[in-house]
Symmetry: none
DNA sequence: CACCGTTGCGGTCATACTGTTCACGATGCG
DNA sequence: CGCATCGTGAACAGTATGACCGCAACGGTG
């Protein structure tokens, strides 16, 4: 459905970086590259042109360091112009003031260069989920619904590995879950990997929390329901 | 330390609501009520006055429905003026466009009226955590750090669920009931979700008790009448 | 129209099995 | 040897299930 595709404008002065972003975009479903601007004024012009043509840009990948304007200035001018386009900031600068300003300017994600494709994809996927949740008009019925939408925007997909989890064990569990196409329970991991149920569960739970595996209760048998975990690509 | 207290401006045209918000604020540590505005222009004037006095407002509790301007307009004008003050939106309107606009205008939290003090306190506490993480200049060293800071704005805990109800199961049932426009019986939930009738009924009954779902008996067939449940918006 | 058998869901338990917690033992590192 | 990190067993708590009984409407029957 091209109708629901998210139209993306890349704002980046370095040609190589701009091409990289565009290439990354092409690998994601649901996103369309709608143009590239190499400075702030061009970006603003493209944005209003697209809006008046009835094909507004949905999302801007905005580099913060531009030749003419700072990315934050571009964002602020967009807001002044009444554009509700969402913005993902891309920057090499880890500046506190910039982050604070970014939040105030309504920037939905903040990517620090250099980043891997995986990181890029995750941030955009989160944004896509966010839009999806807001996309259905009937969805917004309660505080919880709004909270959910905000959560998908702001929950990091990659949690730092907390204490109590060993790298080797984690790798073993990840490997095991990956090889099974069927959802598995913590008991199965216990049996197959020879670890205790407690340990198996701790790792699976961490993976579920970090979003790498899907968790859902398994019904049908007496007793407390068993959670089953399946690797999500 | 009054130095680190968060200075809050309440923007609300109804006196009773404004007082309530102020009273709520007083019960929280780390926040100071810095003033109240009953319309958008006054709010903007107070904000720039405070900023030029060197005592900028850190946070605005902004009602969306004001006599002169829409809350979103006030937010946009704040951004145009270069104010990095954070904003928590308070509104009775569950409007998709408003939520989208709110995100674009850099609104950090979105509270739907009416809300309990618990909800209010939770949202503000989350905001305080967010500031705390951005407050230490050395903290921002990696993508993970930024992610963590954003994450404190997400909803960490939901309302306390009574014992005996699993979070995942409840979510599944709520989701199922929501998607059906027709009233459904516990047997249908049993069949569709693969759980037992007892379990399905327990969750439906809880939802009916808590008021999010409507319950009424269904006549016309032999046997004891069946209760049917329908989502109430 | 009053009564009664039939029917099928409502409501309650004991039960079964897992999730969760806790304190301790094992392992590694300085 | 002391400290931090991790895995484990055991005890406790949580939660879905099957079975069972009772109830409320239906539909004959007199």
């Amino acid at each position: 459905m091209p109708d629901t595709d998210i139209r993306v404008l890349v704002v980046e002065d370095e040609a190589i970086a701009a091409e990289a972003h565009t290439a990354y975009l092409g690998r994601l479903t649901g996103f369309v590259h709608a143009g590239t601007a190499t400075d702030g004024h061009t970006a603003l012009r493209l944005l209003s042109a697209a809006a008046s043509l009835g094909q507004p840009i949905d999302l801007v990948l905005m580099d913060m360091t531009l030749p003419d304007l700072h990315g934050l200035d571009v964002s602020r001018r967009m807001r002044s112009a009444g554009l509700v386009t969402d913005i993902i900031a891309i920057t090499a600068v880890r500046d506190l003031q910039v982050v604070r300003g970014a939040v105030a300017a309504g920037i939905v994600q903040y990517l620090i260069k250099p980043f891997t494709y995986a990181t890029f994809a995750q941030k955009l996927a989160q944004y896509r989920d966010f839009r999806l949740q807001l996309g259905t008009p009937s969805a917004l019925t309660s505080q919880t619904d709004v909270d959910q939408a905000f959560a998908s925007l702001r929950t990091p997909s990659e949690l730092p590995r907390p204490k109590g989890l060993a790298e080797g064990t984690l790798a073993a569990v990840v490997d095991f879950v990956k090889t099974r196409s069927r959802p598995i329970s913590s008991s199965e991991v216990m049996d197959e990997l020879g670890m205790s149920r407690v340990t198996a569960r701790r790792y699976l739970e961490y993976l579920a929390e970090s979003g790498s595996v899907l968790r859902s209760p398994r019904y049908g048998t007496p007793g407390r329901p068993e959670n089953e975990y399946s690797w999500r690509r």
